[in-house]
């Protein structure tokens, strides 16, 4: 690689400095504005004169926002659990068990990544309304928790990431376990899952972010606010005429806080698997 010498290193540092500033500027802006009075926020001051921590209290204690945040946490956690329950066995089977049509099934699943989400949204809506076939647990899943979560239980991308990782586990381990009378299920639970903690943490974070981000789908299927997630509530906040920017930013900050916290705890794993992701095995 073209290495720069000591003096020339100022250039990459300079580039990275600018990139860092630009990357975190919106978050800094969010923090600073969320601490202003509404007048200061409307005039786009750089810093607040007096730190208004009351803004957070005001947003949080307005009963609905609290509810929406908790909704988002519940929805995202259920999606993560569901995704892990379907994806780990599937990825294990695609990586380690030899059965007919294995690769054909896997690649046709991968093809579904090519399908734009916006096309699926409409048929999803009809499925959830119970128009196409009768659903378990009620005639319609509109305005329900299962309607918000179940469609996202299958994720090809996550199966793909897990499979890459499981493939690296040596086959000898399974051979040894089989001789000792272990079943696939036991082997998966006792050996493979503990060995794959980094990737499982990463895909969980991934699934959590995706679920936390989901916006168009809840907007479509929720007509009452019982299960509103934070994204939808912030969207309607922006659309309000004369919204107070300081409160809006405080709400946004509360809404991204769980994501940022999770990211800080898992960033090492996350970074590793993103780096590996583009490189084919």
């Amino acid at each position: 690689m073209i290495k720069f010498n000591y003096k020339e290193l100022i250039l990459p540092y300079f580039i990275l400095f600018i990139v860092v500033v630009l990357s975190i500027y919106p978050i800094l802006y969010m923090i600073s504005t969320s601490l202003m009075t509404s007048g200061e926020a409307a005039n786009q001051y750089l810093f607040p004169k007096k730190l208004m921590f009351e803004n957070y209290v005001e947003v949080w204690s307005s009963s609905n926002f609290q509810k929406y945040t908790i909704n988002s946490i519940i929805i995202s956690s259920i999606v993560v659990l569901g995704v892990l329950c379907t994806s780990i066995p599937a990825a294990y089977a695609f990586a380690k068990i030899d059965f007919p049509f294995r690769n054909i099934i896997f690649y046709s699943l991968l093809l579904s990544l090519m399908i734009p989400e916006i096309i699926s949204l409409l048929p999803h809506l009809l499925i959830i309304r119970g128009d196409i076939f009768p659903l378990p647990f009620g005639p319609s899943w509109m305005n329900t928790l299962q309607g918000l979560t179940v469609p996202f239980f299958g994720n090809v991308f996550i199966i793909f990431l897990l499979r890459q990782y499981f493939k690296k586990i040596p086959n000898e381990l399974w051979d040894a376990a089989r001789i000792d009378g272990s079943t696939h299920f036991y082997f998966l639970r006792k050996i493979v899952i503990p060995m794959s903690r980094p990737i499982i943490v990463t895909v969980s974070l991934f699934a959590f972010i995706l679920a936390w981000n989901s916006f168009a789908w809840p907007l479509l299927i929720l007509t009452r606010d019982d299960w509103f997630p934070v994204t939808v509530s912030i969207y309607s906040f922006i659309r309000e005429v004369g919204a107070n920017y300081n409160l809006l930013m405080a709400a946004c900050l509360i809404a991204i806080f769980p994501i940022i916290a999770l990211y800080f705890f898992t960033q090492k794993f996350f970074l590793e698997s993103i780096s590996n992701f583009g490189i084919k095995e």
């Binding site: 290193l9 540092y13 990357s23 059965f99 299920f185 969207y235 990211y263």
Partner: protein, 374 residues
């Protein structure tokens, strides 16, 4: 029975393990495409109506045959490129190959231009314009994201202090949820004349702008040219949403490209060094070709993803920007959410699906030579 179970236990286990995932993915990932096609040929308001045949498509495209002509034009364009790369070194007479491929290129441009014009005349203008807008969005955001990502990856590859820190910050925009990120951009790129951003560009001698509230095209603002049609370029409002795309994805691409840079074997560089190659030669002859598979992968997935950009655009949309921010996903969503035309929206979705597939083919053909996964 038990014998059968024992004999095939491995296979049965396999199917049993993939069953839940395959069930959910085929129901919510694959089935919707076919059902969308089924919906698109019916009159479908909230509930299914009568059979329409291709009437919805006719309304959208004006004349369906001109759409196929348009697709054919795109394929001929790809073919001309394929022909050139395939035969330029195989045949003795290079000029003939060049001439033939240029001829095909011109033919394809004529066909595309003609068919597009005829679709515009009789079809749904809003939808066709939304395709142009999404093309602007994808093209500008992807090229800039990958280009800037390469620059950042290159910087990170040097011997730096605090590499871990830089990488952590770089992924920060990527994990920021689009609705919240869009909300901040909505304020930063607001219309207030005394906003921070406008004061910043005022410092460099520019007039304050309306950003997300401005539907004038870039060419008009920058050069004062009032162009119409495809070459007018994106509006300032759409450009702002492109900036959001760049903000959120560049770091992510940089991390992947950095990983690609670090697996290039170092003896290649040493060999080049002993041969006396300049830095630029090393970059263009070694680094870029070896990075090509990853760049291809990023362009392909990036194009498909950015055609689907939705959340932040819906958040950042303003009424004064008019339709200039209505990229294709917004247009489709609008049709079935606000106007409750399910069948029509499904037909638009199917057209988007066909176009995405053609794009995927074209990218495969263009980068085919540079792909070496082994």
């Amino acid at each position: 029975m038990t014998n059968f179970l024992k004999k095939y236990s491995n296979q049965l286990n396999g199917y049993f393990f993939i069953l839940p995932a395959v069930f959910v993915i085929s129901l919510f990932g694959i089935f919707p495409v076919f059902f969308g096609m089924y919906m698109s040929i019916h009159k479908w308001k909230v509930f299914k109506g009568r059979f329409l045949g291709f009437e919805n498509y006719q309304k959208i495209l004006g004349d369906i045959s001109s759409f196929w002509l348009f697709i054919l034009g795109l394929l001929i364009m790809i073919f001309s490129y394929w022909f050139w790369t395939e035969y330029k070194n195989k045949l003795k007479n290079n000029y003939i190959v060049f001439g033939v491929s240029i001829l095909f290129l011109i033919l394809s441009l004529i066909i595309i231009n003609y068919s597009w014009a005829s679709m515009m005349e009789t079809g749904d203008k809003d939808f066709l314009y939304s395709l142009i807008y999404v093309f602007y969005y994808s093209f500008f955001s992807i090229t800039l994201e990958v280009g800037l990502g390469l620059l950042i990856a290159f910087s990170l590859y040097q011997k730096l202090k605090g590499k871990q820190f830089f990488q952590m910050i770089l992924l920060f925009p990527y994990i920021t949820p689009a609705v919240m990120g869009g909300a901040v951009f909505f304020i930063i790129f607001g219309r207030a004349e005394n906003s921070l951003l406008n004061e910043l560009i005022g410092f460099f001698g520019f007039e304050p702008q309306l950003w997300l509230f401005d539907k004038r095209t870039l060419s008009e603002i920058l050069f004062g040219i009032e162009a119409k049609g495809f070459f007018a370029g994106p509006s300032l409002a759409l450009t702002t949403s492109i900036l959001y795309g760049i903000w959120s994805y560049t770091g992510y691409y940089a991390i992947i490209l950095l990983a690609g840079l670090s697996i290039i074997p170092s003896d290649l560089y040493e060999a080049a060094k002993t041969e006396g190659a300049s830095r630029w030669q090393v970059f263009t002859k070694i680094t870029i070709p070896l990075l090509m598979p990853i760049i291809f992968f990023l362009l392909l997935t990036g194009f498909i993803n950015s055609f689907q950009a939705f959340n932040h655009i819906l958040v950042m949309q303003t009424s004064s920007a008019g339709e200039t921010m209505d990229v294709v996903t917004i247009e489709i969503f609008d049709h079935f959410w606000d106007r409750v035309k399910f069948g029509y929206a499904a037909a638009e979705g199917v057209i988007l699906f066909i176009i995405l597939n053609v794009l995927a083919i074209s990218q495969y053909v263009i980068f085919r030579k540079n792909l070496n996964y082994d």
